[in-house]
């Protein structure tokens, strides 16, 4: 049996959960290694060796060390193409091109405003930081425009890249989960008919439910 791959970082991190969702979709065994961010572990020299920007996640398997969640997802999807969900990263160049297009749209258009809202509305209060109402308003306006495009697209296509659930949809799970479950901005998704239908489908997948369970599990006790 293959050695489990290693993922460094807390599952509550959106980027970490993106990688976990992908590993679960591909039936890849993994070991989740805690990084205590409250103690600044991610900024210490030992960690910076594997992730020079001091962010989570980072990833290791027997042959390679990687970071950037979407790069890790692409690597895992390619390396384990023949197991788990085989349609996750497309089975031909045309499918892949469409997946890459929507994965880039997620990274460039969806992620900035949705990440900002997740930080302002879900994390800042926990961290006792002051919320920036200007950022919240601007981010909500930007995100609404993006979701209008998604609403149109998802009226023409079951999932973003086509008829199958792919990495492009998966990449949206982490931020949306926070917005829908712990903020009042969830309506932005659920009130749009096609986006709401799509959110139900993708968040209802077994792999994502397992990630949500991992996020709810109590953090490991520090050594």
């Amino acid at each position: 049996m293959a050695t489990p791959v290693k993922v460094y970082g807390p599952p509550m991190s959106t980027a970490v959960s993106r990688v976990l969702a992908c590993l679960l979709e591909k039936d890849v065994n993994f070991q989740l290694i805690p990084v205590d961010m409250s103690k600044g572990e991610h900024k210490k020299p030992d960690y910076l060796k594997i992730q020079p920007f001091g962010q989570v996640p980072s990833f290791q398997d027997e042959s390679i060390s990687l970071f950037e969640s979407r790069a890790i997802c692409r690597y895992v999807s390619e390396k384990y193409a023949n197991q788990g969900n085989k349609r996750l990263y497309g089975t031909n160049p045309l499918e892949k091109a469409s997946i890459e297009q929507w994965l880039e749209a997620e990274g460039q258009s969806f992620n900035p405003p949705s990440s900002a809202l997740v930080f302002q509305l879900a994390f800042a209060p926990r961290m006792k930081l002051k919320q920036d109402l200007g950022v919240i308003k601007q981010s909500e306006e930007k995100l609404a425009k993006v979701l209008d495009v998604y609403e149109q697209r998802l009226g023409e296509s079951r999932f973003l890249a086509g008829d199958e659930f792919t990495l492009a949809d998966l990449s949206h799970l982490p931020n949306t989960q926070y917005l829908v479950s712990v903020t009042e901005k969830g309506e932005m998704f659920t009130k749009r008919k096609n986006v709401g239908r799509w959110w139900s489908e993708i968040s209802g997948r077994d792999s994502w439910k397992k990630v949500v369970d991992l996020q709810k599990a109590p953090p490991p006790k520090s050594a």
């Binding site: 920007f53 390679i64 990687l66 790069a71 390619e78 160049p93 469409s98 890459e100 149109q152």
Partner: protein, 265 residues
């Protein structure tokens, strides 16, 4: 708009009064009106244009995202048609353009029936689909490609957010008659500086950002680099020796010179 001798030598200038994509077959030399006609530039890079599916880029030669795609096409030595999108009159928000990119942003790309948007998805498609043409921009080895993919994400998520905003403050605002915000510039330069510190360390161990060979991870930086090098932010690159050498190397590439030349025609 003046006729550029270089353009006539190199290829065929098609002129059309409509917004539709251009018939790229026989040349139709004719009179030229300045702003009312949409000009489609058919760039022939081969002495004998071969029969291929028509590659089209819809965009602006000044848009960083458009330049990113065009640089990949030039590196690959691929023929393509450039359809100019006039953003000053909101052409990128027209129904015809939204059918190509529902986000209303340039560029949009066509390869026969395939339509794509998002510059970094387009360059990846070009690099894979035309792997045997021109410069190799991806790695056939899967581990090396994974490493390059990491640094492509770094460009997109660590470098570009600050670089693009800095471009806006230092280069775009003056063009639009707006005032640069010095506090914003200071903040962005500090943030970009931290990213470039990581690049400096990386480039002491690796000739190019993505690995030993030049690839998309390096190329994707060129458009914002080009603007920042013409601004006070140049010092951020000059002050880091390995970054500086890398910048000098990639900006000197002949294919990149062709991208810049499009801004002058």
């Amino acid at each position: 708009m003046a006729l550029d001798e270089n353009v006539l030598e190199k290829g065929i200038l098609n002129v059309t009064p409509s917004l539709q994509t251009v018939n790229t077959q026989a040349p139709q030399p004719s009179f030229l009106h300045s702003h009312t006609l949409k000009i489609s530039l058919f760039v022939s890079l081969l002495p004998n244009p071969a029969v291929m599916a028509v590659l089209k880029v819809h965009g602006s030669p000044f848009s960083t995202a458009t330049m990113r795609v065009v640089s990949a096409l030039y590196e690959k030595g691929l023929q393509f048609e450039f359809v100019s999108i006039d953003m000053k009159v909101g052409q990128h928000k027209s129904e015809a353009f939204l059918a190509l990119n529902p986000f209303g942003q340039v560029p949009a790309f066509e390869d026969g029936d395939l339509k794509l948007f998002e510059s970094r998805a387009i360059t990846q498609y070009i690099a894979h689909e035309y792997a045997s043409n021109g410069t190799q921009l991806i790695c056939p080895d899967s581990k090396k490609m994974a490493i390059m993919s990491v640094w492509m994400e770094v460009e997109a998520h660590q470098y570009d957010p600050h670089a693009a905003k800095l471009c806006f403050e230092l280069c775009i605002k003056p063009m639009l008659g707006l005032t640069t915000d010095p506090a914003a510039v200071e903040d962005l330069e500090a943030k970009l500086g931290k990213v470039l510190d990581v690049y400096e360390a990386r480039l002491t161990q690796s000739k190019y950002l993505g690995g030993d060979c030049l690839g998309l991870a390096d190329l994707h930086h060129l458009p914002t680099l080009h603007y920042l090098l013409g601004s006070s932010a140049k010092k951020l690159f000059d002050s880091r020796p390995h970054v500086s050498a890398w910048v000098a190397d990639i900006t000197a590439r002949p294919a990149w010179a062709k991208v810049i030349a499009m801004q002058k025609s």
